[in-house]
């Protein structure tokens, strides 16, 4: 009995674990057109009271190009069923898209939703122009660390749907800081959501924007409201502003800027009277990140550090310097200049504010000459030799130069020298080569003989193929005479079989005799006909042996 009770308790404990949740889903429409809004309904039947669903959005990972948002749960208390609604927009491409499996956390338990498939086909007859839509406007180029990238999401109304609001705009981008410029701005076509991105480190990745817009659909019978999600993904590449060609006076400005204006607070100050020099910079870019450019006062001006001001709404930046004139007269304010980097052209640009004319009144402080006498010197000692003075200049008429550059910097000078060196080297090499050949005439002799023997070989082979015995013999004899002639330093035409045997002692005299008779027999008597070709390989071997000695 005790064991029966234990088994019953164990089975009771296992029973909930063994029970499976029934999950079903359907999309409306079943097959969506490209970019068509659709509704996904997930129905869950469980064995426990499920309660409310929590944190659905976080686990939902729709495929690329598809927007999908959790829009609500049909909630009935004390039931074991739950129905969840999602609204989405199909991708722009045709095909089958799979929403990966995800978990829904209810108060009672976690339910796993299996993969959901959505078919997208252009055969549905869906007309995209009748739907309200969202468009992302963000420059597609290489971004640079520290720059300010303005972007807009346009929510565009259509004939049948009017955009009435926006909610839940989120940006996912690692290595970026982002800033949404206030509430949506109403436009003629709908609404604009303005934002700014600033890359904080280099690398590649993807920026993802998710959000929903509220819509009002109007037809002849009733007006209904609904929400529709949108999503955008854009790949990016972030680099540092290039170091190559970066001017020394680049102070971090990235964008397109204009030196708007510059003015002084008082155009007729006195010597020593501080005045304000204000420069206004405008443009599109990271105005707030630009370091105030340094200005150099020189002998005329004393410059105090700049204070700065920026008004975000007006897209302008002011650099305010306090400068104090040291000398009287007509003076110009110090130049304010610096370089900026334009990310669209990838080039640095120099910005310079025009100098301002100022009339300084008053008198300059008296100059104090430094004492160059050694204070430790005896009182009665005479002063040392007078320090050198300037010589009076004498300008004589003579030829002048526009630029003082050394001859060593002239490419023409070095090119002339290079041409001379190359031509001299070539001449020298040719001279040495010809001298060597004169000392060793056998080189050319053997070379020519070798070519002659090779030519004879080719002629003999051709004659052999044609079956022309006499031509074969003539070619062999010609080749043997040319080769042996070079080796014996003799005229080839004067050579006989005996001369050939001096160079080729192992040659068959009978074969040699037959070759010579076949070749020259007609000159001296009868010739042996058509017998030689049977020994053609041996005859060719003789030529090869001669050639090997050359």
């Amino acid at each position: 009995m005790k064991y029966c009770l234990l088994i019953l308790v164990a089975l009771t404990a296992i029973l909930p674990l063994a029970a499976e949740d029934q999950v079903s889903w359907n999309t409306t429409p079943a097959i969506a057109g490209p970019g068509q809004p659709f509704r996904l309904q997930v129905h869950i039947e469980s064995d426990v009271v499920l309660g409310a669903a929590e944190r659905v959005v976080k686990e939902l990972k729709p495929p690329r190009g598809m927007a999908l948002r959790f829009s609500g749960q049909l909630y009935r208390s004390n039931t074991t069923e739950a129905t969840l609604n999602f609204s989405g927009v199909a991708p722009e491409e045709e095909g089958t898209f799979v929403i990966p499996s995800f978990n829904i956390r209810f108060t009672a338990k976690v339910v796993k939703i299996p993969e959901i498939t959505l078919h997208v086909s252009s055969t549905t007859g869906f007309r995209k122009s009748s739907q309200a839509r969202a468009e992302l406007s963000l420059p597609e180029r290489t971004y640079y660390v520290g720059e300010r990238i303005p972007g807009v999401i346009h929510l565009l109304s259509s004939e049948q749907e009017t955009v009435t609001g926006s909610v839940g705009l989120e940006c996912e981008a690692e290595g970026f800081s982002y800033y949404f410029n206030g509430p949506p701005k109403n436009t003629d076509q709908g609404m604009d959501l303005l934002f700014e991105l600033t890359p904080t480190r280099t690398g590649n990745g993807e920026i993802i924007f998710n959000g929903s817009m509220f819509l009002q659909s109007e037809n002849s019978f009733l007006t209904t409201g609904r929400d529709r999600p949108y999503t955008f993904r854009q790949r990016f590449r972030v680099e540092h502003v290039p170091e190559e060609g970066r001017p020394a006076d680049w102070t971090g400005g990235i964008g397109k800027f204009t030196a708007e204006s510059v003015h002084v607070s008082n155009a007729k100050p006195e010597v020593g009277e501080p005045i304000k020099l204000t420069a206004v910079l405008t443009g599109i870019g990271n105005l707030e990140r630009i370091l105030p450019p340094e200005i150099v006062g020189g002998d005329v001006w004393e410059v105090l550090p700049a204070s700065e001001r920026r008004r975000r709404a007006e897209e302008e930046r002011m650099f305010v310097y306090s400068i104090i004139p040291r000398l009287p007269g007509k003076q110009t304010t110090p130049a304010i200049k610096f370089s900026t980097f334009d990310p669209s052209t990838k080039k640095f640009t120099r910005l310079e504010f025009p100098v301002q004319s100022v009339t300084v009144t008053g008198t300059a402080p008296a100059k104090v000459d430094l004492v160059s006498i050694d204070p430790a010197a005896p009182a009665n000692q005479e002063t040392k030799a007078k320090l050198p003075d300037l010589m009076p200049p004498q300008v004589h008429q003579q030829a002048g130069v526009k630029v003082i550059l050394p001859l060593a910097a002239s490419p023409k000078f070095w090119a002339t020298n290079a041409v001379l060196i190359i031509s001299t080297t070539i001449l020298l090499c040719l001279s040495l080569l010809s001298g060597y050949l004169l000392l060793h005439p056998e080189i050319i002799l053997f070379y020519r003989a070798r070519r002659h023997v090779q030519q004879a070989q080719r002629q003999a082979q051709a004659a052999q193929q044609k079956g022309a015995s006499q031509a074969f013999a003539t070619a062999i004899v010609s080749g043997l005479r040319a080769g042996v002639g070079a080796l014996l330093r003799a005229e080839p035409q004067a050579l006989t079989q005996g001369d050939i045997l001096r160079i080729l002692p192992e040659a068959d005299p009978v074969l040699l005799d037959r070759i010579f008779r076949e070749a020259d027999g007609e000159k001296f008597g009868g010739r042996v006909t058509n017998q030689l070709l049977t020994d053609a390989p041996k005859a060719l071997e003789l030529l090869q042996k001669v050639k090997a000695q050359l």
């Binding site: 150099v296 002998d299 009076p392 200049p393 002048g400 003082i404 050394p406 060593a408 020298n417 020298l428």
Partner: protein
């Protein structure tokens, strides 16, 4: 012929007028006017040692040390023994407080002639030596006694020009600090740690470039980095750049 000569002298008249007017302005102490006239002359005719040294004097009188030193240094490039430029540089070092690196022995040796003369002499002696060796070989004849003498002479000349060429090369590596209160930085960056102050007109030896900066060595032997636009090389345009503030005569 007379007409031609008169036209020729009339065309030359403005040139003499510039030079004379500049000298006259300098004599009466109107250095700004003298600078303007000599600059106009330089822009029209080009520069030469006399003009540059005179311009250096006028610039010095106006208190523009950087431009003055640059003018004198450039005058010495065109004529290493220009007395006005040499006196100006001595004066600037003695009274003006500017620093100039002590010349090495090769630089002193090189100052006997201009850099171009050294290079021409070196090139000429090199080619004479080469052809003294090559020509007999090309002609396949033994070298003559005269040929041997010329070869020895040219090789000697070539050896003698080498220190001169080296001195001219190191001379060309110098630059002048353009502005006052420039700090030598430890690193070639805008925020590099300052290690030594320099003053306008100081002559420095330049080394490698990096990140818009140039490594320089001062007359005291201190090495550091300055921005490339804070110095102006001695070799370059005829007149100094327009970097200095347009100060009036003191």
């Amino acid at each position: 012929m007379k007409t031609f000569l008169s036209v020729f002298w009339l065309s030359l008249a403005p040139l003499f007028s510039w030079a004379d007017d500049g000298a006259a302005a300098y004599q009466r102490g109107d250095y700004a006017q003298a600078v303007e006239l000599w600059q106009s002359q330089a822009q029209q005719e080009g520069v030469h040692a006399d003009l540059l040294s005179a311009l250096g004097n006028a610039e010095w009188k106006l208190g523009r040390k950087g431009r003055a030193i640059l003018c004198w240094e450039r005058a010495l490039l065109l004529n290493p023994r220009d007395p006005v430029a040499l006196a100006g540089l001595h004066h600037a070092q003695g009274v003006g407080g500017t620093d100039r690196p002590l010349p090495t022995w090769t630089e002193t040796y090189a100052s006997f002639m201009t850099a171009d003369t050294w290079l021409l002499l070196g090139t000429l002696s090199f080619w004479v030596a080469v052809y003294c060796i090559v020509v007999p070989r090309l002609k396949r004849q033994p070298s003559t006694d005269l040929n041997e003498r010329i070869l020895l002479l040219s090789i000697t000349l070539l050896v003698l020009t080498i220190p001169g060429l080296w001195g001219a090369h190191t001379n060309a590596q110098r630059a002048v600090i353009k502005q006052g209160e420039i700090s030598l930085r430890l690193t070639p960056t805008k925020l590099g740690e300052p290690i030594q102050a320099t003053s306008e007109g100081d002559v420095v030896r330049t080394d490698r470039k990096f990140n818009g900066h140039v490594r320089v060595i001062t007359a005291e032997g201190k090495a550091g980095w300055v921005r490339a636009d804070e110095i102006e090389p001695i070799w370059g345009a005829g007149l100094p750049g327009t970097y200095s503030d347009a100060t009036s005569a003191p």
